[in-house]
């Protein structure tokens, strides 16, 4: 067990803000971009925040890159129960199997990490870049692809330089690595926006002729693209090496003494992680899965083990492993309005129901309403999942706050 942290020395009257989100006179907190604690295989060998496992060290710890065909990789992913760790949670094995018999033109490591509530991907790339790169190399070899792209946002230059350094150490036969750095933008992390950005276009969602909720591999003009999140590739590398998925990776922020990234045993409960980070006070509410996620009363989440299924069972959302503890003394409705405004501002500006709908929703919420009549006209529309996910998050908040509209919500579903 290693503790990658300096002890918390914050005074208890210090009220931390929300990452990237000023609310009710409380300034925005920075992204909790620090590795606080690791007890698990992902950050093995890292003893302090800032330790970088270079290629020699990585090979000493984990050996050479295993060889496996696509079917074999899918088998490892299945056995480890891997799901996409970027937020959507699509089963990795299914994604791998769907590449069978396809011409794959590139493998993309999505390290965009657009929302400030998440920092785990940058932390993985900073500390254990070769585990991530190994995962992508495995997929590249299994699909017969040469080109592997690491897609990063430019707002974290230390992540960019860590990856650049890691790439300079690699000499994988048959792989051409490419680093692609995007202007940081929330929806730029959306999968088909990443693909377009990597191909030299604007990093905005575009039409794929199918719903944005469909996570099957993206088909470019000349072939398929295999895109996954940073953590997913690292976990695939570990799974292929026979390492059991015993840890959960969490970015914790809000009203805790030590916001940051925590790798903890999956057997831990939410309360154990939060206690590890230093509870400032007993929280009332927690936002799970980021601004697009679900609001949950702390009383319901505290005893919950970590992971997709356990979280779903209590109405929470695992997503990218994000937990935001709402600061005490801040009216939750103001937080909700601030989030709605923020998400409205993050619209890529392409689709009417999103461009016009999200600000209208935010205005309704600011007025104290539920915004449900607007929400039903946003739900399920638009090119990417952003507007629909925003509506889902707002509804979950209103339900938890007891402000949910009484009308039957299902009537608004299924619109295009």
């Amino acid at each position: 067990m290693t503790t990658a942290t300096t002890r918390n020395t914050l005074p208890t009257d210090h009220v931390p803000g929300l990452p990237g989100l000023p609310v009710a006179g409380l300034p925005a907190a920075p992204r909790p971009d620090i590795l606080r604690y690791t007890e698990g295989p992902l950050f093995a060998g890292v003893t302090r925040d800032g330790d970088r496992i270079d290629l020699a060290r990585h090979r000493a710890l984990w050996g050479e890159l295993p060889t496996s065909d696509l079917d074999g990789l899918a088998g490892y992913a299945d056995a480890a129960g891997l799901r996409g760790a970027g937020g959507a949670g699509f089963p990795t094995a299914r994604k791998l199997r769907s590449m069978q018999g396809r011409r794959v033109t590139q493998v993309i490591i999505n390290g965009n990490e657009g929302e400030e509530t998440s920092a785990k991907d940058g932390q993985l790339l900073r500390h254990v870049p070769h585990q991530v790169l190994d995962g992508a190399a495995l997929v590249a070899h299994a699909t017969g692809t040469r080109r592997v792209v690491v897609r990063l946002a430019h707002d974290r230059p230390d992540v960019v330089s860590a990856v650049r350094q890691a790439l300079s150490e690699r000499s994988d036969r048959g792989i051409s690595w490419k680093l692609s750095v995007d202007e940081h933008r929330f929806v730029s992390g959306e999968a088909n926006a990443v693909i377009r950005g990597v191909s030299g276009g604007d990093a905005l969602p575009h039409d794929l002729g199918r719903p944005p909720s469909d996570p099957r591999p993206r088909l470019g003009k000349k072939g398929s693209v295999f895109l996954s999140n940073v953590e997913t590739f690292a976990r695939l590398s570990l799974a292929t090496r026979g390492v059991r998925p015993t840890s959960a990776l969490i970015t914790l922020s809000g009203a805790v003494a030590s916001p940051g990234v925590y790798e903890v045993p999956t057997s831990w409960t939410a309360a154990q992680v939060v206690a590890r980070a230093g509870l400032l006070t007993d929280p009332d509410l927690v936002i799970t899965g980021g601004w697009h996620g679900r609001w949950v009363p702390w009383a319901r989440l505290a005893a919950c083990p970590l992971g997709w299924d356990a979280f779903e069972a209590v109405g929470a959302r695992w997503g990218a492993g994000v937990l935001v503890v709402l600061p005490p003394g801040i009216p939750p409705r103001q937080v909700l309005t601030a989030i709605a405004n923020r998400l409205a501002g993050e619209s890529a500006g392409q689709c009417g129901p999103c461009v016009l709908g999200l600000p209208a929703l935010a205005r309704e919420l600011a007025r104290g309403g539920s915004g449900e009549s607007v929400a039903t006209e946003i739900d399920g529309r638009g090119l990417c999942a952003h507007p629909t996910a925003t509506v889902a998050a707002v509804r979950s908040a209103l339900t938890v706050l007891g402000d949910a509209p009484s009308s039957d919500r299902t009537t608004g579903r299924g619109r295009a």
């Binding site: 575009h206 039409d207 002729g209 392409q350 689709c351 006209e377 619109r415 295009a416």
Partner: protein, 69 residues
Amino acid sequence: MSATLTIDWSRCKGHGVCLAAFGERLTPDRWGYPQGIPTAGASLDDKEITAARTAVTTCPAAALGLRIE
């Protein structure tokens, strides 16, 4: 017949031409964008398919598409 009307939301500018062409199914939302688009595998009769086709061909933004299976 099973038909799917597809919409590229980044093209749709709410001209409303489709609403006139395919009023049997499409209604405007508060901003004038079409609602009630028959999504994956909706069952449409011949008359509706003709109307849907007109909506597709007359859309000034070329935002609509029709897939018939």
